[in-house]
Subunit: 345 residues, 2 copies
């Protein structure tokens, strides 16, 4: 796999690239965070408390960063002195949609930990998470209405439909080991890639980008999103526990069907298939099962193959923006995609 994965150097780590992109977008990101805080305001104290708990818990703001970078990558010189806040408002809207999704996701998955802290549904109740998710989602639409136009509204409304359909598709195939890669890709595309893509599109639309430029950013976002999620799913079965913002073994514990499992199940012998059925389909797990699952996954090179799939999407992502003129933003986005592949090592 040496040909697809960059050598690990600190300067090429994903975390480092996020930090550098954050530095590059520093002023705008301060504005985004100010707007987020302003819009978390509510007369109902519980709303603020819960919403702040998650949205201020030190997430990477990856999606807002995509909106901001897409804005600057496509911004032409004649827009240089415009004082529009549109890209800021839309970046905040994208983060609100993302956070609303996380709140509902954790309820659906019955998750107890996120980013090393108890989830909102664990700290409060499922009910509270559902309602505060609805609140954040509605706030996103307020922001979109204020800072968007017909195009950006349509993209974000369509994306919200896609995300919820993706969640339901995933739920409908819950613990079904027989689903094929195609359904899995559809779920990943809907749940993760569509919002990455929307974040990029609305950023470039705020810069009055041409149709071709918006389409380029759309392709970039979609394929970066696919890369990101596939690597995320691979990390969960990685033997290296020191991976940025992830605990290994969570997907296994929840019986979540991801690509490493789909590949491993298809390649397993009868005894191993029985193991998957017991641990994933029936969620009947014993001590040592997770370690054994990694053994089977490694036996059949399922992590390597997941990374190969991710690498395909990363290549498409990078090629999508090849025609943009060189800029720091373009360089950072390319490095972000490249290093996202190496998160697992």
């Amino acid at each position: 796999m040496n040909n697809v994965i960059p050598l690990k150097k600190e300067s090429l780590s994903f975390g480092r690239q996020i930090t550098e992109l954050t530095e590059l977008c520093k002023e705008d990101l301060i504005s985004v965070n100010t707007l987020i805080l302003e819009k978390l305001d509510s007369n109902v104290p519980l709303v603020q408390e819960v919403a702040k708990y998650l949205i201020l818990s030190g997430g990477k703001r990856l999606r807002p960063l995509l909106t901001l970078s897409s804005y600057y990558i496509t911004k032409s010189k004649n827009l240089k002195n415009n004082n529009s806040m549109n890209h800021i408002g839309l970046a905040a809207a994208v983060e609100f949609i993302h956070t609303a999704t996380l709140l509902h996701d954790d309820v659906i998955d019955e998750s107890r930990q996120r980013r090393g802290k108890p989830t909102a549904n664990e700290k409060w109740e499922n009910k509270t998470s559902v309602l505060v998710g609805d609140f954040l989602f509605s706030r996103a639409f307020q922001l979109m209405t204020k800072y968007g136009n017909t195009n950006t509204l349509k993209i974000l409304a369509d994306t919200s439909v896609t995300i919820s359909e993706g969640e339901i598709l995933e739920l409908a195939n819950d613990k079904n080991l027989e689903i094929n890669e195609d359904i899995y890709f559809n779920v990943v595309n809907a749940k993760t890639a569509s919002l990455f893509s929307a974040a990029c599109q609305v950023g470039s639309l705020s810069a009055n980008a041409s149709k071709d430029e918006v389409n380029a950013m759309k392709a970039f976002g979609t394929n970066f999103g696919m890369t990101f999620q596939l690597i995320d799913d691979a990390i969960d079965y990685s033997s290296n526990k020191k991976v940025l913002g992830k605990n290994t073994g969570d997907d296994f514990k929840e019986g979540k069907i991801t690509l490493p499992i789909i590949l491993a199940y298809g390649r397993s012998n009868d005894k191993e298939k029985k193991f998957w059925k017991r641990t994933i389909s029936n969620l009947n797990q014993e001590k040592g099962d997770f370690e054994y699952s990694i053994d089977i996954i490694n036996k059949y090179q399922c992590i390597e193959d997941t990374i190969t799939r991710a690498n395909h999407f990363s290549n498409v992502a990078i090629d999508s923006i090849v025609n943009f003129k060189d800029s720091e933003y373009k360089e950072k986005l390319v490095q972000l995609v490249n290093t996202s592949l190496s998160r697992i090592y």
Copy 2:
């Protein structure tokens, strides 16, 4: 109370008025239902199945009827031949928001029955209801984006925020017998009246109504919504079980704090206060408790006083639209408000 409640005649029943208004809006309502069906379409079969279960289960379409009536009440002659579908699309969006709210509401309240059928969360799972609610909510925003303008988008996005804040305010005061009428009115205003009001506003905005006209319809919707919900809450403690689309006793069983309870608790003696704490705050209920709760409520005239409050709002609602020229639509809306008060008898 004879001075505030119209005499009961069949022609003056609420159900009859709904039927007559439905007849008056028949063609538009067919279009609304067509659009609803069209927008329930999804590649994920479970989405369609669940969404159709609730949205096609024979609801009264009261909110879309408000949008349509508000459109016709304010439509001027020069709009007569316009073929715009905006009022249709917005009426469908309002119904989608309402249905999404019901789905999440039933999860929050752990309700098992709605309109005499098992709730979606009972028939499927809480997870499914949360996600299909999100889907319907996103669909509403697609419709708003397509058929609305900046004004209608702002109204519906603001209303969605208000609804979710109202739900959280209610949850935060769950089983708290000491809350005052003010909080209760805020909850009812946010959870019910705000969408009635939005439905009326977007209808009149689709007809290019003047600011004053939109404000008149806004006031009508808000105050009709308050009337409707107060009567709904009173019906739950009514001794007459044959009330349109309602089962008595549901609120009591769930320990829900509504105006009849707030009034009764405030007026109760120590022994009765203990009863409320056991049955509502601790939800420790025995056979005969519901009947005893009605005894206390009747002892202190709490139903009559709830109706008196409702009557206040109904008067404001009717006075709000006094300046519109006479029309069948205006007449029907007035009758709807008047008969909504008599639903309890």
